[in-house]
């Protein structure tokens, strides 16, 4: 696509004239926020999770060799430029995603418990999962940021009918859970994401924006009173819906308060996206750009992103794979189909690598954004045809603020819980936690130099 960036005045940007400008949001240049001093002086650690559905062709994923001497596999070869900040972790399992008597539903269990290590409840109405690790991190990291966390996805959620038989569609359409009964919805529309990050007032006037924030806060205060009244009316029974409402009100109020405190922060000089771009490529790049912006402007420090929901049927004709993703991954060892599956995985990784490149080129504190990132990339299914839940394709990318020592392929004994890795990452983030789902401990190796 031709990216014809004309000089756009700030007023035009915020009025949404960006509708006529070609994407991507950011060219090779990263817009510098005008006041450098506004970013944290010493880079703070951020968490990102990128999830890909429907499993992988594991032979093409697994690198050759282990420790410091390893060779990237055909699928991962696009990450070569970032090898020194890359840790491939092999041997992790999600045993909680096995049937354990519940019958079919591997896809729902894979994504439903990916960040919580919990065997999700088989139900198509009242869901039951566990608090996900990104939300555990968000509870602490949100103290400094307007948005507690962000959940993004490529697919939208308009499929009707059951997803996995007996399982609510909520399990396969998100990996973030605020509470064991509240899965967080994902957003795929770049315009909506932009507005969540930077507000939707359509006005550049700081007084107007401040007035809007004040009004929002007073509305929420008033609504909170009414909801508490309702809570009393509904009686002693613990009402999940009311609790969710109060949680949501408090979270949004916190966001508004933070925004008011940080009102001097400027909106970056980029065009507001008009909506969902027509091509997957543009769409994915745009969502990655928005993630970068969110980290850079320190609007949030916790973002999860899914390439699609589990069982996603998305075809990839742009790379020569017109078959729907999910059915293709049931390849029954047909080499032609496996080749195509691997192509999809390589494509996903290429988009990811381009994102890493931009993160590396974005200054942050005493280094780059990538230096301070902790990104978990992977999925809850290993062999896509057999729906195995281990050894899971898992990599960790980023400097972790100096706490992650990259350039290694760590191999753990099979059935080591994935949650052990996630627990370790929480520790690196500065959110030490005792236990996560089925975790049995932490890894020392991530931070240690040496084999």
């Amino acid at each position: 696509m031709i990216a014809t960036r004309k000089a756009i005045s700030r007023r035009m940007i915020l009025r949404g004239m960006g509708a006529t400008v070609a994407l991507p949001l950011l060219d090779a240049m990263i817009p510098a926020l005008t006041a450098q001093g506004k970013t944290p002086a010493k880079g703070v650690r951020r968490l990102g999770v990128v999830y890909h559905p429907n499993g992988v062709i594991y032979d093409k994923w697994l690198p050759k060799g282990a420790g410091r001497n390893f060779e990237l596999s055909p699928t991962l070869v696009g990450l070569e430029p970032f090898k020194d900040q890359l840790i491939v972790v092999t041997g992790l399992f999600m045993d909680v995603a096995e049937a354990l008597g519940d019958g079919g539903g591997d896809h729902s269990r894979a994504s439903g418990g990916y960040l919580s290590g919990v065997h999700v409840k088989k139900s198509d109405s009242v869901v039951g999962g566990g608090i996900s690790m990104d939300q555990i991190a968000a509870k602490t990291l949100e103290r400094e940021t307007q948005l507690s966390s962000l959940q993004l996805q490529m697919d939208d959620n308009s499929l009707v009918g059951a997803c996995d038989v007996g399982y609510s569609c909520a399990y396969s359409s998100t990996i973030s859970w605020l509470t064991p009964t509240l899965p967080l919805m994902t957003e795929n529309n770049p315009r909506v994401v932009f507005e969540r990050l930077f507000g939707a007032t359509d006005s550049t006037d700081p007084n107007v924006r401040a007035a809007r924030l004040r009004q929002d806060r007073s509305i929420l205060d008033s609504v909170m009173d009414r909801v508490k009244q309702l809570q009393r009316q509904l009686g002693a029974a613990d009402n999940a819906r009311v609790n969710d409402y109060l949680t949501s009100l408090r979270d949004v109020e916190r966001r508004i308060q933070k925004t008011e405190e940080q009102s001097a922060k400027e909106v970056p000089d980029v065009a507001r996206p008009a909506g969902i771009p027509e091509s997957f490529d543009e769409h994915a790049r745009l969502l990655y750009d928005l993630q970068l912006l969110a980290y850079q402007a320190d609007v949030t420090r916790v973002i999860t992103f899914m390439y699609g929901r589990e069982q996603s049927p998305r075809p990839y004709p742009q790379i020569g794979v017109p078959e729907p993703h999910h059915s293709l991954t049931h390849h029954q060892n047909d080499p032609a189909k496996m080749e195509k599956c691997a192509k999809i995985q390589q494509y996903h990784l290429k988009l990811f690598a381009d994102y890493l490149e931009k993160l590396r080129n974005t200054p942050d504190g005493d280094g780059s954004l990538l230096d301070h990132m902790i990104i978990l990339y992977g999925g809850g299914i290993s062999n896509s045809d057999r729906h195995t839940h281990g050894p899971l394709p898992t990599i960790v990318v980023g400097g972790g603020g100096g706490a992650l020592k990259g350039g290694r392929h760590l191999v753990y004994p099979e059935h080591t819980p994935l949650t052990n890795l996630q627990l370790t990452l929480l520790d690196v983030l500065g959110v030490p936690t005792d236990k996560l789902g089925d975790s049995t401990g932490q890894f020392q190796e991530l931070s240690e130099v040496g084999a």
Binding site: M1, I2, T4, R15, G16, A19, T20, A22, G104, G105, D106, D124, S125, V126, N157, S158, L159, V160, A162, S168, C169, A170, L178, L182, L184, M185, N189, V192, E195, R196, D202, Q215, S218, I219, S222, V223, R226, V227, L230, L234, G235, R241, V242, D244, Y245, T247, S248, D251, V252, P277, P313, P315, P322, E323, P324, S327, H330, Q332, D385, R386
Partner: protein, 820 residues
């Protein structure tokens, strides 16, 4: 070991039935003579307990320990048995089974007993107390409150579903991201409703396929697309746009480009017409002039064209500036068709629309890809805008403070009454007036009202349907839902929206529960066109899963190269028009299966193998092909139950079992491998051959013997609903045997078999409709209510209005069980 006694046992069962019938009238429940076996007991002893016992615990159903005497004590188990008896699903094939008469007589005996017990102790169930409005309901509520149509898909995220519907209270959660969206939606709606002269000019973008998310659109634009477009046009976009205030607005057109960014079709002159509410407001010409045609050399080898070239941004100039009065209006941008010559022989497209040839050749025809509406410029708030007329019941004299507050109070009280769907309390009103006053002090009357509107739209009383138990009620008691809550149940069921003033007034006056009044209101609501739109787009699309037509991805490269979005839109339109007509004419529910009437345009007719239908508009057609009648001949249904490369008889069979026969199959066992697509010798297999494994493996057969024959009988319809007679080189074999022994061969036979069991169908519909209407999954204790609905509907030939009325009067709809 069981078979030999079956004749004798059948006799025993009918004897016990006869005996029991005579004892039923004279002996009160609880004192049946100990020696006599109930028909239920006789049946399960003979046919069921070999597997379904305490030791084996098959499917967790222990029929040796249930109360076969006072069946109401084991209602849950017996309701399961009834389902299996009515659908003939159990015992599984290969084992001795009762004859049809026994199946029915025992089922009837059980139903009678359970219905009697249910009548004595009503259990109406307990839907969620805080039931959030889904986004369709939110948008409709805004439309009814303010006369504004908002783009709900843009403003709010998609809702989760449960039990197949997005009206399920448990699935409709509230979370921070959603609250954020409600906040920005409220601010935007308030501004639109009141009209804000300082509203900043912004652009809204519309594309050709409103319901398509982000995939590329394969919409052929060589013909007039629909009735909304002028005659003599081709392609284009129609948008319903809300113009918030009087002022000037800009309408811009964006054209389709090749992958390298070159606008297609500029070698020839094209005339683009822009219309507002049917009136032409602009005619723009582009292309055919030297500035476009002189650049052919640049385009030749597909290189990127210089950014400033008219070939890559020539559509920047395509805009009209129009003065518009506030209100909801229709904007159309379309291309004038230069001639009306029809290419003989070939269809509308000579090459598949998704192909590189079609997309990337710059000299292919011009196509409009999006329409942008921007403004307002020079805004003036018109006191006559439709939404202001609805909201502003009074207009205070300028700067008369006490008049203002009184007027504001009146406006906000009426708004709260409608939005909260009940009489507002003093607290409610004072809260709103305080918001008005605070903002009024720093602004003007209008901005004060805006603040009040925002507060209303964020209130739980608006966003949720609140149903709380009456104070002091004994735990677990069933009580009649108060009129005001009943009004909401009714309006959200039939209109997917808030009650109108008449319904609300009737409820607040306490008259709604009176039978005659209730019936009159239901009929009035059904007569309103809103009911048909709401039911067709919300109930039927989710029940039949035809909304998934928007997500279909048929294999374009090999199997279905002629599939395009025009066909996709036609699938949806046919369903909409067909169902709308059924409801409007208050047909029998069974007519859904047998109707020979549908609505087609030329492309869809050809898809169905029919000739004699010309033109892109839809018209009523009487089907003469017996195979095509009813729901089972509709491409929408046939395609959402298929894969992208082939049919999926198991999916079709499951769809039929769930949605037509009220006999849903249980979940598949874990780790089922996919089907082999080629046989051992590499020859491609027909779908029937692929499914052989289902029949030869006994674990599979227990369920698949039910699903597959149903689906296989529709095998003549391919994955996008076209009729075919060959699959994998061999003639299609569409034969199967249904569980009750009926042999079927092809769709006509299948349809006859389904109609022979039409009560099962009506039961399935009632079940789905009740699930949709009360927003919770149904349970065994709802079965008597469903049977009651079916019986009441039977008296009127199962007409929709009678069925819906019976549903409204049923216990689960009218009542609620208190918390235990």
């Amino acid at each position: 070991m069981i078979a030999c006694g079956s004749m004798a046992l059948a006799a025993t069962i009918s004897a016990t039935l006869a005996a029991d019938q005579s004892t039923q009238t004279s002996t009160p429940a609880g004192s049946a003579p100990a020696a006599a076996q109930t028909p239920a007991l006789a049946l399960v002893r003979t046919y069921c307990v070999t597997c379904h016992n305490q030791r084996l615990k098959t499917a967790n159903l222990m029929l040796d320990t249930v109360d076969a005497d006072q069946v109401a004590n084991s209602a849950e188990a017996w309701e399961k048995v009834i389902v299996k008896l009515r659908s003939r699903a159990m015992p599984p094939p290969g084992v001795s089974r009762p004859d049809n008469a026994t199946y029915d007589s025992v089922a009837t005996w059980l139903e009678t007993a359970l219905d009697r017990a249910a009548a004595a102790q009503v259990n109406p169930g307990r839907p969620g107390e805080l039931h959030r409005l889904n986004r369709t309901e939110y948008a409709n509520a805004i439309r009814d409150l303010f006369g504004l149509e908002i783009d709900s898909k843009a403003m709010l995220p998609a809702d989760e579903q449960a039990h197949g519907f997005s009206t399920n209270a448990d699935a409709l959660s509230i979370q921070p991201a959603l609250l954020d969206r409600y906040l920005s939606a409220a601010a935007k709606i308030a501004r639109l409703a009141v009209g804000d002269p300082s509203i900043p000019a912004g652009f809204e973008r519309y594309t050709a396929l409103k319901d398509n998310s982000n995939e590329s659109t394969w919409l052929a634009q060589s013909e007039r697309l629909s009735e909304e477009f002028p005659l003599g046009s081709r392609g284009g976009i129609v948008a319903r746009h809300y113009f918030p205030v009087d002022g000037e607005y800009i309408i811009k057109i964006r054209l389709d480009r090749t992958d390298t960014g070159i606008i297609r079709g500029l070698q020839w002159r094209n005339d683009i017409e822009v219309r507002l509410d049917g009136v032409r407001v602009g005619q723009l010409s582009i292309g055919g002039t030297p500035e476009f045609t002189g650049r052919q050399g640049e385009v030749g080898n597909g290189n990127y064209v210089e950014a400033r070239s008219p070939l890559s941004n020539g559509d920047d100039r395509l805009e009209v500036r129009v003065p518009v009065k506030a209100g909801m209006r229709q904007v159309v941008a379309t291309i004038v068709k230069p001639d009306n010559l029809v290419v003989e022989g070939l269809g509308p497209n000579a090459i598949p629309i998704w192909s590189r040839e079609h997309l990337n050749k710059p000299d292919n025809p011009l196509i409009i890809s999006s329409l942008l509406v921007g403004g307002p410029y020079g805004a003036r708030v018109s006191p006559d805008s439709p939404s202001r007329k609805r909201l502003f019941l009074c207009q205070p004299a300028r700067d008369a403070a006490d008049q203002e507050t009184a007027c504001a109070t009146k406006i906000l009280t009426t708004l709260a009454r409608r939005a909260y769907r009940r009489e507002p309390t003093n607290d409610d009103v004072q809260t709103l007036v305080r918001f008005y006053q605070t903002t009024r002090m720093q602004g003007d009357f209008d901005s004060g009202i805006r603040a009040g509107v925002e507060r209303v739209l964020l209130s739980p009383d608006f966003l949720f349907r609140i149903e709380t138990d009456p104070a002091g009620i004994a735990p677990g008691t069933a009580y009649n839902v108060p009129d005001v809550q009943l009004a909401s149940r009714l309006s959200f069921f039939l209109w997917s929206s808030i009650p109108d003033d008449e319904l609300l007034d009737t409820a607040i006056r306490g008259k709604l529960h009176e039978t005659a009044v209730l019936e009159q209101q239901v009929r009035r609501m059904l007569g309103d066109a809103r009911a048909r739109t709401a039911l067709v787009q919300n109930f039927f699309e989710e029940w039949l899963q035809t909304r998934n037509v928007w997500l279909l991805t048929p294999d374009l490269t090999q199997k279905f190269p002629w599939f395009d979005d025009n066909l996709r839109v036609a699938f949806v339109r046919e369903m909409e028009l067909f169902l709308d007509a059924e409801l409007k004419e208050d047909r029998s529910i069974v007519d859904l299966l047998t109707s020979d009437r549908t609505f087609l345009n030329e492309q869809l007719a050809r898809h169905y193998g029919m000739s004699g239908v010309y033109g892109s508009h839809f018209r009523r057609v009487t089907l003469t092909d017996e195979n095509r009648l009813g729901l089972l001949g509709k491409a929408a249904v046939l395609s959402v139950t298929s894969y992208s490369t082939r049919t999926a008889p198991t999916i079709r069979g499951k769809w039929l079992l769930e949605n037509i026969l009220a006999a849903p199959p249980p979940a598949p066992p874990p780790n089922v491998p996919a089907l082999e697509e080629t046989s051992k010798d590499g020859r491609p297999r027909s779908v029937r051959e692929m499914l052989e494994e289902h029949r030869t493996n006994p674990t599979c057969a227990s369920c698949h013997a039910r699903m597959d024959p149903l689906g296989l009988s529709l095998e003549n319809f391919d994955a996008i609903g076209q009729w075919r007679t060959i699959d994998a080189g061999a003639p299609i074999n569409a034969s199967g045997v249904l569980l009750d022994g009926t042999k079927v061969d092809g769709p006509v036979a299948l349809r006859r078999a389904l109609v022979a069991q039409k009560e099962q169908f009506v039961r399935a519909v009632a079940d789905k409709m009740l699930t949709y209407a009360i927003g919770r999954g149904l349970d065994y204790y709802d079965a008597p209510a469903i049977r009651g609905i079916v019986r009441a509907a039977a008296a009127d030939d199962y007409r929709w209005s009678s069925t819906i009325l019976a549903l409204v009067k049923s216990a689960p709809f009218r009542m609620r069980r208190a918390a235990s």
